[in-house]
Each structure stands twice: as structure tokens, then as C-alpha cells.
Subunit: 445 residues, 4 copies
């Protein structure tokens, strides 16, 4: 069955700038080397129903005994792009600390406001990052460097890197940013420059391919549950109270699903992976009516990317180039209110959008530890001369993944998995949406 | 100067159902009696500029040695009305515990879903409240009884009270509810019934006349600061980042002001008590532009009732009879975006509305203690045969206030006070809005 | 009855360094002046049973229109002494911000490690405090200046103040520190120096005379309830589980009492103000046995200064000169274990000492606002040339109190008050300890 | 290299009570079956230095299409044993919900106070567990069933199970409890009874063999970091301040290590896996002295089982049969104080023991989700007729493990791993304790 596995050993090979000849300055007598690989069984069904298990080899992350850069001479740059996510400052801090304390680099530059910071006309001078200047930043949410959306020309960025004499660039950002990093690396290769580009994938939606759980996700779910709990409190506090909570998740419903599992009071969870209908036999609105008649209150969690089929295409794109989604939460609220008004049933609907509260808090303990390892391993990889890759935690192992592989596709909820079945069991949704292979109206589609 | 004091001793007199002849069942040998009054100096300027101090007497709350009701025979009812507020369950719990454990009443009924619960046609049967059924409710936000908005006929309510054989009614709610309580008490008096009506004023806006700080306010401010901190994180995370946070406060800006003092990152706080203009010499938008050019980020906290003069009158009223306010936060966001778009200045605006998250959390320790005393003292007052009154904490004393007095007017921020001056100093707003008596454009008006 | 009032107007008079002739630099057209006083009715029973109410006048805090110091030339020093307390950094921050932003002082020095920082031989150089260096400190617990216990010679301290050219000294500390401040002021007066000494009373025990609630107390109670909740969880998780929680309170049981009111699960609260016995008819141990036989679990909260009569006098004193208390919590645990071992009753006793966790957390929103006002008002008072005084919040008003008055005695729980009665009702302790005037064995004594 | 793998396929085979012939009542059309296995690469070095990687097959958890028990007729029992751990109530809740809502079992019994609850002489009647009675328990820490330590005779337990007509027993507990579960299963097998025994391993120390991270561990670490942060605040608040925090970890230092990684302020972490010395060239005390001379403050985190070689063997055993450890934290505090007293260096040492606070809080969102899956999968396994096994999450997969395998040995920190190296880098300890294979004095030994 392994021949059907979508990830081959060739797919996982990592590019290097050149041979690693310099002894590591790290005071260890034993090191992982590049032959250190781990064989992981990927979740077959993640690649579609009917597929069997597949095993693939991945390069393990970690410090190498011999490195490529003369670490005491190399200059390093860090840039953060896209929306906020808990843990950004932790990753920055870990990179700075590892670079300074262990590799004793010549300097670390913080690029301001995302990729804009490379473009002179914006006038954002880079800031010098030292152990002292980053020592407390993990106590604060957001990114101390600032961020921005949207691409900049790879040529301009590489010009800037060369001008700043940067040997290693750490890029922390989402899917679009990882694609930009790929283009930067290509431009570098074209020039035969010796600059390493290492990505740390950031997405609060948890939708990075081959990353089991992206950093900040745990924290985001924890905060989301607080908002959902409030929605539940509001719902039970009024006759036919309905709490609607919108959470992040443009193409993947991980936050919605995980928060639903963490908090037991959600009655409907709507995610991009499952289309649903509002009316008719398996429609959400009649089901909600039955729920209210029986129990007097309900909580609905809706990912921002759910139910797009119900909305007209906005046609627009944001600064990052992502399609502007239709506002499913507002649409849903309007439809619910109209439905119950038509039936002259009293209704008290409360809508909560906790998005910015979720993504701008400091990371929790678990994410902090995680971000620490991501940052450290990113530095180890860069020093060893690797490039065009990201650091990932896959099934509890830290591994190197080529940029091409992580941007190949977005990870999505597997609606044929035990995980999703548990979500449906928690909500009770499965009474209207049996978990079967057969196409059903409501969900899964 | 005291002759100008707006509260006379006659205003503070409390009505009783009849003489208190029955020895209290409480196992204490010393009791407060009705001659126990406290003389309090009210804040003169709360009643307008130029007024001097005034002293008024208030009846102290507390258990009485002789009571009116045969406590073991009396039946008690509790109703919660209007929007959620942290501490509702604590007040319910305290009333039930005091009634059962100390006065050994015949029973406590919880009226469901506000005043609707008195009206048979709604079909909400009251629930029996016992020490066991309420023992853990303080761990949860909201109200275990449910709530609703809007009045019901006093005649129907008193019919219901008589049918249920209720001797004491505890009404927990806001300004409109206290007015309803007053009408219920009048209907009772008209019928010469012997039913006590005791109010516990609830308002997350902290705008009850002669209540220094209403229950739940502390908790609400604590939660509001969390949202504002997130707005600050978002603001500094983007070039020209502006965080706009809408908080509750229909007619009074207490939450906005207090949260601003608690968190030092707010740059503009907009409250109903101060009109402001958007454009012109002292306008908010030019000031914001200057702020962004100098510091690159800003946080604006806006109370829902601020700036209504800038909006067309909605003309509508909600179920509670309150005017439906114009949406100042959305208006403001739109104007800010248009202003900077016109000037081709980049802007990243994030809007946060934490309202339902603020009001539905469990009370913090301070509010819990406070709610406990409110509930206990409400029971003591009722047992002593008092009626048509509320329990209040005024300058750290628990006192009895006639319903007429608390509904006379809404408490507002005194914009001539040291308190408001401190708010302006914290924001730095006073650079554009000097704290003077002279009319200024921006604020105070 | 007012003639029996223990506080006379003479007691509340504030000393000044000289006439205030310089116009305030603050941009306000209206100011409080020194004739602004507030008449407050003190709680009679706080001064002993049988006393009537008493009214006393206090000078209101706030900015003055004319000040004593040429603010742009004066140098300011801040010192923090004694144990940690939530809010210390907030007070420091507020003083620095007020001094710099509003009075534009010549400089603010932070004295390191308490009064030791004045003594050259310790070698702790003062640090310059600027708006930038303090802007984030309120996010952290503790004191950025460090602290220490124990006195230093007033002569040496004044020498140091003169050498540093300091005109205003802010002293933040407990009872012993306020006495030291008094001695420093006396030494200054003896030398006819023109240095203002202003105190901000700090005590997590909430035992400052004429301060309704000291800063940090709210936060401490909030944290204490978390520990007590854990003790309750442990107690119900085991057969005959007993959770014993030790909280701060050397001479006053405020934290123990308030936490008990905030959390409903405490069964016994032991405070310094009430002696109690372990054995005999009203003894704690037989009562605990009865409780365990009936309910299988119990929670005991014990203030560190409770039950000292049961322990041998340690005879020792700590660096601050306070007597070293006997360890009542350990004694109690030992006695409980022995008692049940003797009776061959199984017992699972868990002891929690959350003291350092309680006192080292950042202040909550309420305490932050409070500390802001304390700091600002301390600066206003100093600039006006006042000395030998502290800023206090008394019945929700900010007032000036002479150092002599606040160090006259420690505030204690009034065990004849409604407050303490509510505590006993919450615990159920009053079944074994009726709230009466008659001497009872267990409590109140 | 796989031949050296310490886990063979035979080791992972699961026992069944009999053939699974009954169609599952779950409304799914696709099920995992027993051939669903996952091949996992175990961390070689976990089994000692010098070992290569090893791959082993494990049975995947999940619902089966055909089950052994007639689920509507079977009665289920749950028992919780040993110390508290966050998430116990979540596991109980998940089992009850799965049993009732999906398998519609005849009843679920909660056994009170651990294995004692099976023994009639204790008189703890089992309680009936329904969806309603458990619906809110996840909001509370601890275990609603109560717990106890120590073994009971397997014969008596099986007698009780038969008398109660129980077909499935879920045992939630630690290492000792899993061994007891094994003995219960053996007794059942001896009688040829058809009772399934399924374990859910609980250990706050995270030391279960082949469980990547045990439930509650995340929550415990989160709380531990709060205590350590306080220790840091105390340390910097005093001259030569030293904060010592004791955390759980009898034989494994996972909490200490993970909390150290999550919080950056720890300077020394002492764990059972590393012996250390106090004096001499690499001794802790001289290192601490150097640290204080350089930085004036330090934080030490010590696992309860660390440094036992420095203490006399207590010789005692607790009710669970575990050796009573020497009190390393108190010993360490005493030695530190003596050392600096000898050198006449001032020292302010604060000791914090947050153990009971850490283990009795409710689970965080992450642990809640985890506990939900553990409970559900335990039910699926039991219904399928499996016995003598536990449910584990291993490298992000839920698998079945034989009881023999999990109790084979305790999981320990691998002090040759990248993980431990990161810990040392975070503390800076490696300056005195190089991470090498060579024996070093301080750590690793």
C-alpha cells in the first residue's frame, strides 16, 4: 500500500548551501547528524478515503556536529509576517537567544513590519536584537517586530539582505509567507548567494501541511473556549437564547472543532470542510428550532470559512492575496432571526466575535515550550547550511520539511476520522448528520 | 451650604409594611435597629458644578432584633431581569442561603425568565430554590433563573404573587426593573396586601444613583482590560495600527474610564458624558493622525453611548423601553478608515467588541463578597417588613434607599472630578482637551 | 456621643514645609484647596463595643493650585520596604509618571533594596527612573526597586537625601516603615531641611489604621481563594479529607475573613482577633470530628497570627523588629493528625501555604486603579509642601493622614460587626461559636 | 537495528474476553477494526545510550464494528485511585457520556474513594452516574468519586464486581493502580469471569511507559510556571534573593523540566534522573554563590525525587507502597542558608511548594480534549471485549497497550536527548554541567 503514499523520500530531501565543515561551537560531544531520520506513518485517510497507511522518512531537527557558517561572523535577520498568533515573540526570543548564547553570531537584526521592512522606501529601519532586548517579550502577545500583509519583490528583498550582509534569514509567517520565502530562496539561488532561508510556519488556523499542531493553536483554543462559554451563559440566560461564536478558520475548522471538544456546550459546529444547508429535512434552522423547543437554548460555533457556498462570491482579495470571505456569521445570524420571526417564536440571539482576543494573547506554557524548540531548531538548521525548509513538529518529532512540501496544500479536518466523529458526538449534530460515507445534506457533505 | 443638598432626610425614609414585633430567629444578642443611621457626605460636585458638600442620613442595613414576618411561614420569590451582569448568581445564592439557613423560611421560589415568569401564558413554572440547588451556582456566570427584558402589568404580577402565596419578592435588575418594582409595590399597597418588595440594583454600567459601585462592575472592568490589552497588542503589531474597543455604557462611561485607568495603553476614551467632534482644531481625527505620525499606533476605547450627537436618532426602542443607540463604534471605524484613506496613509484598524464576554463571566472575589452582603442585607430588610427599597453600598456602608431615590436619575461620570482628570492624564487626551471650565470643542464639552 | 470619638480634628492636621506660593504647572483652572475637607463618620464599633458613632474631618487629597516646590527643579526619590505586595510597581509607576508628565521634575531616583539603598556601605547605587523605564512594570509583580527589611539610622538616611539633593521622598512600606518615615521626617525637621516625606502605606494584611482597604489586598484575596478552592478539591477527593490553608495576617485576619466570604467552602476560619481552644465542649477538634462524621470533608483557613496563645512564645524578632510568630498552621496540622489517630479515624490532611504566590502576583484591575490614585495623590501632596503624612483611601475618599495617626494602632477585624457575623455564617462556625457578647470558649473569645 | 528494539509485536498484543460478534449500536458505517495498527518508531535513546531506532506495531484505538458485550445489558463501573490530577473528572465524564449516549448501557456505577469502595466494610455505597450527574463536573478539579491509596485484595474486588453484576471496570490511576488492575484481571481470568478491565493511566509526573504525555501534565506545568514566576519575583525583590520551588516528580523530572522550558527564569533545575553534589568544583552551592555575586538573584526548581542520594533513606513506605522520599527541598534550603551564613553573605530565601495547587485545578482546554478521547476510546475497547489493557496516546496516536507493558518500567527524562539539552541551555546550568557523555560531577551524572 505504501506505493500510494503521497510523500516520497525525494519529497522530504533538504537543500543545503554547501558542505558543513566547521566544527560546531556548541559544547556537546554528541550530535544528531543528517543521517538521523525518523520514519513516520502518516495518517492515510488524511490523503483521502480508501487510502492505506503510508510511511515516509523525515530528516530530524537538531544541532549538527559540523556546520556550514562561521557562526561568529554570520549576521542573522528575523521577519514576522501576516496576522498575529500567540507565540510569535517566543519564537523570536528563542532564535535570538540560541544565536547569541550558543552560536555567538555577529548580530541579529529584527526586520520591522513584515516584508515591508526590507523595502527602503517604507523607511522602517531594522532593529538590533540582543538577549537583553528580547528577554521579557514572551510575556506579551503579538510580535515585537510588527507585521504586515502582502508580498514584496524577491529581488528587492535579496538586495536588502545582501546590503545588510545577512547570511541567515528566518521567516515566520503563514502559507503566503512560506511561498514568498520559497521565491526569496530561488532568487538567492539564482544569484548563487550563500544566504540560508529558514521558515517557521505560523497559522492560527492549524492548517499547515505536515505540521501536527501549529504553534499558538493550543493557546487560541483555550481563549476560544472562554468566549464559547460566555455564549453558553448568554444562551441559558434568556428564553430561546442562541449564542453564535465566530472563530478563525478560513479553510480549516480546527479551532472550531477543538474548542468544541474542549467545551461540552456547543450544539452546532460549522466548518469549511462540511457544507450544510439552512432549510429542508436536514437543514440547520429546523434542527435549531427542534433544539430550542426541547432545550430552550443553543450554542453555534462557526468558522469564518464555513458555508461559503451559501454566500455570493465576494470576488475581492486581501493584501495577502487571500480571497475575502463572505461573512457567514452575520449571514447566519440574519437567517436565524428571520426564521424565528416568521414563526413568531421569541429568540434572543447573541453574537460573539473573539478573533482578535484569541490571537493576540501571550502563549500558554505548552506553546511556549513548543516555540522554544522551533526557534532553536531553526537556528541549528540554518547554521548547518540548510535552506528552503521549515521546522515542523510532526507526531511529536521535530523534523525538517522542504518549503515545497508544506505549501503543497493546506491541512484540513479529516471528516472521516475518529476526531471529527467525536466532534459530532459532542455536539449531538450527528442526530441530524449521520457520520456515514453516503452523501448527506447537512454535514459531512 | 447643606441647604442646597439635593437629598433630604425625608428622601431617605423607608416604608414598612407594619410594626416589627416578632423576635428575630437569628442567634445574636445584639442587632442594629432602625435608629442605626449613618451620616454621609455626598460628593457635592456630583450634583453639578459650583455646589458645596452636603450631608445626608441613611438607614443602615443589617439584621433587626424584631422582625415583621413570621419567618418560618413566609414564602419568598426571586426574579432577575434585564441583561446579564457578573454576580447575579451570587446574589441569588446569598438570598437563598440567608432565607433557609438563618430565617428558615417556608420556601424560596425562583421566577423564570424575568417578569415573564409571573405571567401564566408564558408557561414558565417557578423553580424551588434550596441550599443544595444553589450551592455551586456562583461558579458560573449569568443567572440560573434566566432573564428577559420588558415590562409586564403590575396587576398580573401581584395576582401571581398572591396566587403563589409569596410574602417577599426580591427583584434584581436595572433602572427599568427598579421602576417596575416601584409599580408593583404601589399595586400591592393599593390592595393593602402585605408583600414586601426589595430591589437589588444591577447595572454593569455602574450608573445607579447613590450606589458607589454596582455589583459586577469590578469584574466587568477586569475583563474589559483584557480586551483592551489585546487591542493594544494588535495596534503595535501593525504599521499605524489602531485598536478600537467598544465597551458597555449607554449613558455613563464608567467601564470605559475605569478600564482606561487600569490599563495604561489607552490613548482616547470616549464616553457619553463628553461630546466630541471628529474634525477641526480639536477634532479626534487630526489628533489621531498626529498620534500615528509620532507613535505609529493608538488605542481608542468607546462607550456604546458616546458620540450620539454625531449619529442620526434611531427613533427605536428596545424591549426594555430604552432608546436604541446609534452604533458609534462602527461609525467611528468607518470615519477613521475614510480619513486615512483620503490622506493615503496606511492604516490597520482592528475592532473588538467584548461586551458579551465581559458581562457573562463569573464574578471575581471582590464582587462575590459584595453580592453576598447585598443578598443577606436584602433578606434582613425584607424580614423586618421594609418594602419599596433597595440595598446599596454607599461609601463602603450598606444602606437602605427608597426605590424613588435610586430611580430619580442615572449616575454619571463627573467630568469636573479628580477622577476624570486622572483618566485624561492617563490617555494624554488632555493635550487636545484641556481640563477646564471653559467650553472646549473636544471634551469635556 | 461624638465627644467619645477617638479622632479629633487636631489629630488630622497635616504638617507643611512652608507656604505654597508657586502656581501649579498643571493645566487645570480649578483645584482642590486645603480647605477641601471631608467629614466622615467613622465606624464606632471599630473603637470598641458600646461606643457611638463619631465624625471627624479629613483633608482631601488632590492637586493644589499653588504649590511649595519649584517642580521643575526638585529631585524626587522613591523607596520600597518590607515584604512584597501586589501593586508596588503600580505605585512606583504612577509617581514617576505624575512627576515627569505633569510636574516635569528634575529627576526621579529609585532607591534600591529598601532603606539599605541609602547607606553607602551597601553599595546599591540608586537608579534613574524615567517614564520609559517604568512604562511596563505594572505587568510584573514585586518591586522593580527591590526591597529589604529592617531599619537604618535616620541620620544616615537624611545625609544621603541631602547628598543626592532630594527634595521629596516617597516611602512605600508597612507599619514599621511608616514609623521609620516618621523618624526621618523628625530628623529633617531637626536640621530644618526642606525635604518632604510622604508615605504610601503598604500591607497585605490590610491592617493600617484609617485605611479602608490597603492596596494589593483585593488581589491577594483573589489569589488566596484559588488556593482555598484547591484545598476544598483535595478535601472532597479523599475520605475525611481536611484541607488546611495558611494565609497572611500577623495581627489581623482580613485576608482569611475576606477569602472565606468570597469562597463558600471554608468551614473554619481562625484569625488573630479570636482566640480558640482545640479541645473541650467548644473545641475545634471535636467540632471537626462532628463535621467529618457528618460530611466527610472540611476546609480550615488559618491566619498566620491566629492561636498564638496555644504556642510557646518564640521570643525571637525578625529583621523588621516584628516578633517571630509561632507556626500555628504546623501545630494545628500536628494536633489534628494526633487527634484522629487516637480515635483511629482515617484522615487525609493536605496543607497549603500559598503566601508567596499571593503576594508576588501583579495587581488586578481594581488595585491598579487604586495604586494609580495613591501615587498621583502622593505627588500632589508632596508638591504642595506637605510632609509627615500618608495618602489613604477612607470610605472611598482619598485623604491625607498624619503619619502619627496611621501608626497609632493596627486596624483589626471588628468581631462585633456585621462583617464578622457574615463570616461566621458562611463557615457555619457559629453553630459552635454563637455570635454573642458573652465570653465564649471558641470564638469570639 | 530493529532487533535491538525492546518492544516486540508480541509485547503489544491485546487480550480479549471472547469473539466480538454483536453489531455495534454506533450509527457509523465505517469502523476501525483490530487489524488497524500503527507502526511507530520509538525513540531509541529512551532505552539507553547507543541504541538505534526501533519500530513497533500498536493496535489503534477506536470504535469497532462488532463488539463483544450486549451493550444495552452491560453494567459498567468506574474507579479513581491515588493522588489528584487535572482531568480526572473529564475522563469520568467522557466514559459516562459515551456509555450512555452511544452504547446505551444498563448503568454506570461510580465506586467511591478508590479501591476501598469495593470493600463492604468501608461502607462507601457506589453512586449511579448519569449524563446529568456528570454534565458539569469538568468545571471542577479533583475527582467527583473521591480517591484513596493502597491496595485491596483482588479476590474481594472481583467478588464485589460480581455482586454488583458489573461487566466492565474502568480503572483510572497510577503505576500501582495499573498493577492492581493487572491482578484484578488475573483473578477474573482465574474465575473465567467475563469482566473487562480497562485502565486509563494517570500520573501527574508524566512517567508512564509508552505514553507520550499523560493527561493533566499540561495543566500541571501551566500552574507550576505560575508558582515559579512568583519565586522569580520574590528573588529579584530582595538582595541575593533565592526562590526555591518544589514540584512533583518522584522518579522523573518532567514537570520540573517542562516548566523550566516554559518559563525562562529558572537557573537550576534538579531532577531525579541527575545526581548532583552541593560542594566542590561542580557543586551547586559554589555555582549559586557565583550566580548571586554576578546577578543578585536565582531561582531553583527541584523535583521531589531529586538528590535522594544526599539524604538518608527514610525506610518508610506510604499507603500506596511507594517509598517515602527524603525531603530534598527542605534539606536544600537548609544547606543553602548554612552556606551563605558561613560566608556572611546576606541571603533572602523563599520556598514555595505549589504541589496541591498544581494537581487540584480543573484541566485546561488541551487536557480536556485529551481526556475526552481517552474516556471514549476506553469505552470502545471495553465494548469490543478487550481487557487487561490501557488506552494511551503515543506520538499523537491513540493506541491500546497491555497492562504488562505500561507497568514494565517508569518513563524517565532522557538526559542524552535534545530535550534535556534545551533545558540545560535555558537554565545556563550547562556552564557548570557540560552536556557530555563523560561522567560529570554535577549533572548529568
Amino acid at each position: 500500500m505504501e506505493d500510494r503514499c503521497p510523500v516520497s523520500d525525494a519529497d522530504t530531501a533538504i537543500t543545503v548551501l554547501g558542505p558543513a565543515k566547521i566544527p560546531s561551537p556548541l559544547p556537546y560531544c554528541r550530535f544528531d547528524d543528517d543521517t538521523a531520520r525518523v520514519r513516520l506513518e502518516l495518517d492515510a485517510s488524511d490523503f483521502g478515503p480508501g487510502r492505506g497507511p503510508c510511511l515516509a522518512d523525515f530528516e530530524l531537527a537538531g544541532p549538527r556536529g559540523r556546520i556550514y557558517f562561521d557562526s561568529s561572523k554570520v549576521k542573522v535577520a528575523i521577519v514576522t509576517c501576516g496576522g498575529l498568533c500567540p507565540g510569535l515573540n517566543d519564537v523570536i526570543r528563542a532564535i535570538v537567544m540560541e544565536c547569541h548564547h550558543n552560536y555567538h553570531v555577529a548580530g541579529v537584526l529584527g526586520i520591522r513590519f513584515g516584508l515591508q521592512g526590507f523595502i527602503e522606501s517604507y523607511g522602517h529601519a531594522p532593529m538590533e536584537l540582543t538577549p537583553q532586548s528580547v528577554s521579557d517579550i514572551h510575556q506579551f502577545g503579538g510580535t515585537m517586530l510588527g507585521s504586515s500583509r502582502g508580498p514584496q519583490k524577491p529581488e528587492d528583498i535579496v538586495d536588502s539582505l545582501e546590503r545588510l550582509n545577512v547570511g541567515i534569514l528566518f521567516v515566520i509567517g503563514g502559507d503566503g509567507t512560506m511561498k514568498a520565502a520559497r521565491r526569496i530562496q530561488e532568487e538567492i539561488a539564482r544569484r548563487r548567494s550563500k544566504i540560508s532561508v529558514i521558515g517557521v510556519p505560523k497559522t492560527i488556523d492549524n492548517d499547515v501541511n505536515l505540521v501536527t499542531k501549529s504553534f499558538g493553536f493550543d493557546t487560541a483554543v483555550e481563549k476560544a473556549t472562554e468566549a464559547i462559554r460566555c455564549a453558553h451563559t448568554e444562551a441559558i440566560g434568556a428564553l430561546n437564547g442562541v449564542g453564535v461564536v465566530k472563530v478563525m478558520g478560513r479553510e480549516s475548522g480546527f479551532i472550531a472543532a477543538q474548542a468544541t471538544l474542549a467545551l461540552k456546550e456547543v450544539n452546532y459546529v460549522l466548518v469549511p470542510e462540511c457544507s450544510f444547508t439552512l432549510n429542508g429535512e436536514r437543514g440547520l434552522l429546523p434542527s435549531l428550532e427542534a433544539r430550542l423547543r426541547a432545550r430552550k437554548h443553543a450554542v453555534i460555533v462557526v468558522a469564518e470559512g464555513a458555508g461559503q457556498n451559501l454566500l455570493p462570491d465576494t470576488g475581492a482579495r486581501d493584501a495577502s492575496g487571500n480571497p475575502v470571505l463572505g461573512d457567514i456569521a452575520q449571514y447566519l445570524c440574519g437567517e436565524i432571526e428571520a426564521y424565528f420571526r416568521d414563526r413568531q417564536m421569541p429568540l434572543t440571539l447573541k453574537f460573539i466575535d473573539p478573533s482578535y482576543i484569541i490571537r493576540s494573547v501571550p502563549a500558554n506554557a505548552n506553546d511556549r515550550v513548543y516555540c522554544g524548540f522551533l526557534g532553536q531548531n531553526a537556528v541549528h538548521a540554518a547554521m548547518a547550511g540548510k535552506t528552503g525548509m521549515v521546522v515542523s513538529r510532526l507526531f511529536d518529532r521535530y523534523v525538517h520539511l522542504p518549503l515545497d512540501l508544506v505549501t503543497l496544500k493546506r491541512k484540513k479536518l479529516n471528516i472521516f476520522s475518529d476526531y471529527w466523529r467525536s466532534v459530532l458526538e459532542s455536539t449531538g449534530q450527528h442526530e441530524v448528520t449521520p457520520f456515514t460515507d453516503a452523501p448527506v445534506v447537512f454535514c459531512p457533505a
